[in-house]
Symmetry: C2
Subunit: 488 residues, 2 copies
């Protein structure tokens, strides 16, 4: 794997110059074609042996390509609010739009490489991290974010020679940082670590490419060639099943059909119970322990099931600084130029905070499925992707609760009519709502499949009978309060 | 000012119901009209006496209006990365787009109210804060962000009664937080503080409205009326000069004309000098002291003056994790729906980091002025707004340096022709460049006025002769290095 690079091949000036000219022209053309097509972003992940000139990639690509469409995404050890979200959060939020290119330093491989370069790497942890990375990269690839991973490499001797040469002159000595001097001693372990990581994470859709880096001309040419080959790749690559998150076959339960829609509560009991539940919620949200957790609430359900009213009964008990409500509609162009889950990743709460989604990422397997807004391959894949997403969320300390507010068709009809009559509610009813109603069965089938496939212990669905609004509001509050109290 | 509110007026259910109906319909209509027009955002700033039900505004407006176009923006004491930027940064970055509404808790008035409610407020600090707020609000108003400020108020007796009533029952006692109990004792001082702040910051374009809050119906009706009145206001209000930042009359110096364009350096000296300067920059950027500062570099200049090359000589000395390059082009629709400076505020660096702008906010007084892309009133106002912006930046610990890379018309022509011939440089030359060249004199005049009006000690312009690229690169590096070394 490293044999060629460790022979430290070089390119003379005479060999390099015509190659440079050809590569620059080709890179620019490829870049503009991708910009015009704008169907895929490209992430160039930079890793490798220290002192191999990884950092020079930024200047190289910015000089050889149109720098207005290249972003450098560089990460150090996770810190501050990064630690309050899942580890992949910082990479998700920075994903470049389709058409453009990101150069990634300190990528998701950084912790993996540190682990694998230890004397005795923890094999289980390593395996788990590799599996998570494989799912992450496969999902990105399937959603239009192409990935190429460059490993800059040179022989131990060349690495040492380079450091000594640079250190010899005050004009260049600063290029060797104190950190570099330490890692030069660890060549063998970093090399071995790289080998392990590459073996576990190489794939057709997110390949590793070793760049011989002892010679600057060679490094530049091979970097450009690798990026060029990636840019020229058309279409979405075939992604092996083993790389994707997946959900097994299940028997789909008709949970909507089994629900007791007659549940109700009378007004007097409601008022008193509401106040008590809100009090418990207020206390839980103000508690010290919640400052190390976060809460994510998802509201789905038929139109006019009363999501907004239920949400307001929750927020009434909260400090305005503590929560954000994200109303989810069709994605805008900004959002469409990124993977489907991107816009939700960006809204994840910090510790001590609450994110409320009025409709959510489940749109993928509900409206997008029923209205055929996305290809079946996308929404079929989405169950497992969503489970993976929520598992990461829960693992990072979020309490995740999902509510389906369920009404019967006749109650919905009543509410639609009432909305149409009311001068301040008729904005809530649109032709879309009537059209959705015509597809009642399709929506119910989609909801049942969703409930079956994504009801997991770390992010449970609560199916709430909402023919009686008061009953539904109390049920929602009760589930939130109990989940908070149990977790804190 | 508080007389009416302290009489604790109320509305009976019979009075309130028809009013509610009328207000809800009117609010919704007004909201949709603004969404359609999308020429102004609305910020509803919430402040007032504690226990007056400020928090209920969120639920009220979300229930009475279409909540999909309302965002709650709530702030606690500044913390974490907020402290590494100017105090207004967190408000700038969250500005809602035109057409929509933001409800602001813990606004820019929060620190002011704390100060003014102290036993002996520091009058100078208060005055300075008020002046900064006046400029901030005036700029927002002039740029399409309308502001209305609600002061929720009730008598001391009503405040006390309310707390006791709520505390009496477990269903409501949670609504009184431990913090509330403390502030109830400070009624007089908070009232006096509010009075001072309102006196200093009330204006036609960003008015304070006192909302009588002892009675829930009255509070709801008056809140809705105030928001409705604001939503119905058309056009940009007249903003008194005394509220705006301003730059006085100056004699515009022809600095571009006075520059020595023959400055150059030979290749051997360049290489050695470059390495030494990059070494000093690398050391300064890695220094411990820089971890408490940040660096903002602005690059402007004629087309083909060599901005990109100069930037790469700077970044070569830096760790990729330390800097961001923001190439500035025409604003997109997302950016156009906010005030002009918004997109730049969002890019301000944290401590220990470097933000490089390849073109910048000066586009307002250069290309937008010359190409008549904005009204004269806007770019004329911009000099002072920019000075204010940069002063805030510098005050927050940023080292701000601005470079104008200057070439003569004949050298530009040479470079244009060279670019046209080169298969990998011709992407850098467009019909726009030739058109700009035809307006050489207008651009020079705009640049000279800009240099004269915005060359300030805390954010100096360096006019760099760039007919010789090597000379220009060294000059830029030298200025950056010296500013870093002097500041650290």
């Amino acid at each position: 794997m490293f044999a060629e690079a460790e022979a430290d091949p070089s390119l003379s000036k005479d060999e390099f110059k015509p190659l440079e000219m050809r590569l620059r022209v080709a890179l620019l053309n490829a870049q503009y074609q991708r910009l015009e097509k704008a169907d895929k972003a490209l992430l160039v992940v930079v890793a490798g042996i220290d002192g191999a000139g990884k950092g020079a990639t930024v200047n190289l690509l910015n000089e050889w390509m149109d720098p207005r469409h290249i972003r450098t995404l560089a990460y150090g050890p996770a810190e501050g609010e990064e630690l309050e979200r899942p580890p992949f959060w910082r990479y998700w939020k920075d994903l470049p739009p389709k058409g453009s290119t990101g150069i990634v330093f300190g990528s998701w491989y950084a912790p993996l490489l540190i682990e694998s370069a230890r004397k005795k790497p923890n094999q289980d942890a390593l395996e788990a991290q590799c599996a998570a990375i494989r799912r992450f990269e496969a999902m990105l690839a399937a959603e239009g974010v192409q990935i190429i991973k460059l490993w800059f490499h040179l022989s131990a001797k060349a690495q040492k020679d380079r450091a000594q040469r640079l250190l010899a002159s005050p004009e260049t000595s600063w290029q060797v940082s104190p950190v570099d001097l330490k890692v030069y001693k660890k060549y063998d372990r970093i090399r071995a670590g790289g080998q392990i990581v590459m073996n576990h994470t190489d794939s057709g859709h997110a390949p590793w490419v070793v760049i011989p880096s002892a010679d600057e001309n060679m490094r530049s040419a091979r970097t450009a060639e690798a990026v060029l080959a990636a840019m020229r790749q058309r279409g979405v690559p075939r992604i092996p099943q083993s790389f994707l998150a997946h959900s097994g076959p299940v028997r789909i339960v008709n949970r909507l059909g089994e629900l007791d829609y007659d549940a109700k509560i009378d007004k007097g009991d409601y008022e008193s119970e509401l106040g008590l539940l809100q009090g418990r919620l207020a206390r839980a949200a103000r508690s010290k322990k919640f400052q190390e957790r976060s809460l994510v609430l998802v509201f789905e359900g038929q139109d006019a099931a009363g999501k907004g009213g239920a949400i307001r009964r929750v927020t009434h008990a909260l400090d305005a600084r503590q929560f954000d409500i994200t109303p989810v509609a069709a994605p805008n162009s900004y959002e469409l130029s990124r993977p489907y889950l991107w816009r939700f990743w960006r809204q994840l709460p910090r510790h001590g905070r609450i994110a409320i989604f009025d409709r959510s990422w489940y749109g993928r397997v509900l409206v997008e499925r029923v209205e055929k807004l996305t290809a079946p391959a996308h929404w079929r894949r989405a169950y497992a992707e969503i489970n993976d997403f929520e598992a990461q969320l829960a693992a990072s300390g979020a309490i995740v609760l999902k509510f389906w507010l369920a009404v019967t068709a006749d109650v919905q009809l009543e509410r639609f009519k009432e909305r149409e009559k009311s001068p301040f509610k008729n904005f809530k009813i649109t032709p879309d709502d009537w059209r959705n109603r015509d597809k009642w069965k399709e929506y119910a089938a989609a909801a049942n499949e969703m409930l079956t496939r994504t009801d997991v212990a770390h992010a449970p669905w609560h199916l709430v009978s909402a023919n009686d609004k008061r009953y539904a509001r109390l049920q929602v509050l009760r589930h939130v309060v109990e989940a908070m109290e149990n977790s804190l």
